[in-house]
Amino acid sequence: MTEPVANSETTHFGYKQVATEDKESMVADVFHSVAAKYDVMNDVMSLGIHRLWKRYTIDCSGVRNGQRVLDLAGGTGDLTASFSRLVGNKGQVVLADINLSMLKVGRDKLRNKGLVRNIEYVQANAEDLPFPDNHFDVVTMAFGLRNVTNKDNALASIYRVLKPGGRLLVLEFSKPVVPMLSKIYDAYSFYILPNMGQLVANDRESYQYLAESIRMHPDQDTLKSMFDDAGFEQTRYDNLTGGIVALHRGYKF
């Protein structure tokens, strides 16, 4: 499939070209629409594997007792739940998301699990984070970066709020590295996913956007370069499930 090219006044919304200033609200509409069924759809679409990808992220985070973690675009709080237990009573986790519907679902879910003491909820734009400089030990972003309008701004903002010695982990869909897998993945994304979205969530369009937005996201090496350009050091990535998903890491020194 041919992919559209953005210019400074337009950007991608999946395969569509839209005005840059409109993308944020269009993405917001998608996530308002999917928020209530987000978790069940993640399980259905990935056959539960997304939980293993997120566990891998937590394992790589090195989060310790007493630390301060930002779970950015944290949505329904999967990572926050584990971080809350890992940082303990002396630590803090901030669950931040630009979308209020997703944040509410996350807050309700975490409170129902009894996780109330060390979690804060903030509605925030990744491109302009409302936190002090050098504030967090770890920042994680799982399946959120591809929805950001200007990823370079987001990476710069994250760099600012990280403490020296802190690390950023970005878990995101990427480019499969196995050719046969790539074909199966394309068929799955463009034919099965939207139909699943219609069946389970009665929302075909949002899952069509999901498939397209994945294709428009930078590949592994491009994203690694973006990390480098933002000032991160010792950057690396790990391909998971044949490169369908990649975990990028970088440190601020």
């Binding site: 293993l52 566990r55 394992d59 790589c60 090195g62 310790r64 007792n65 237990r85 303990g88 009894g114």
Partner: protein, 226 residues
């Protein structure tokens, strides 16, 4: 698939499942759940295990439940990151249950079967917690590190595939039936004719009954006048 994460996910589910079930049993018996004191003692503590059956460390982080994460990768790395709330152990999986007994710990260290850095009481409390809930680490790990696990996963995948194929076949059969089966949308001609004949017969019966009633009325009124 991240295999190590499958292991830690399974361990976490198994441990917390047993703790939860034990707590419920105690509550049903109207007893204080005896897992609570042990877990509370361990809140905010971490126990990192380097076991003979695994090639990396696994860390148990205790709160209102137990979180199991993979790492650190080496004993040296874990030793360098130690703090007041952490204990790092290098041992055989079979020796874990002995840790709640101080005299056993000394013996294990002397025999070279145990290498321990950090707060010993964390290891002892964790061992006590697992022993009191009959959590056998060796058994839990065996489920995920042996050929049995690979066989079960493979078996599950085969079963799932077979179910999907059967469901698809059934759906295809139903779809084919739906397309080829004749479903009349109007009453058949013979049915309409039959119904008409029945109505005529009914009309005839009603007419005969009316005639009989009229005759009976006439006969009755004739008797009255004579």
């Amino acid at each position: 698939m991240p295999a190590l994460q499958l292991l830690t996910a399974g361990m976490e589910a198994a441990i917390n499942g047993v703790l939860r079930s034990h707590r419920k049993k105690q509550q049903r018996k109207n007893q204080q759940p005896n897992t609570q004191p042990s877990l509370e003692k361990l809140t905010n503590k971490r126990l990192t295990l380097f076991l003979d059956v695994l090639n990396t460390g696994i860390t148990l982080a205790f709160s209102e439940k137990v979180v199991v994460i993979a790492g650190p990768a080496t004993f040296e790395e874990a030793k360098n990151a130690i703090d007041a709330d952490t204990c790092v152990i290098q041992t055989k999986v079979g020796a874990l249950s002995a840790l709640s007994d101080t005299s056993q710990i000394t013996r294990l260290i002397q025999q070279g079967d145990l290498n321990l850095v950090g707060d010993l009481s964390i290891a002892q409390s964790a061992s006590e917690l697992f022993a009191s809930n009959n959590i056998d680490f060796e058994e839990v790990l065996a489920s995920y590190t042996s050929d049995v696990f690979a066989h079960s996963v493979f078996g599950l995948v085969k079963k799932f595939h077979s179910k999907v194929v059967k469901t698809a076949d059934a759906l295809a059969w139903q779809a084919a039936e739906l397309v080829t089966e004749e479903r009349p949308i109007a009453a058949r001609k013979q049915g309409v004719t039959g119904l008409g004949m029945q109505i005529s017969a009914l009309r005839d019966d009603v007419d005969r009954l009316e005639a009989k009633i009229s005759l009976a009325e006439h006969q009755f009124s004739s008797r009255q006048t004579t």
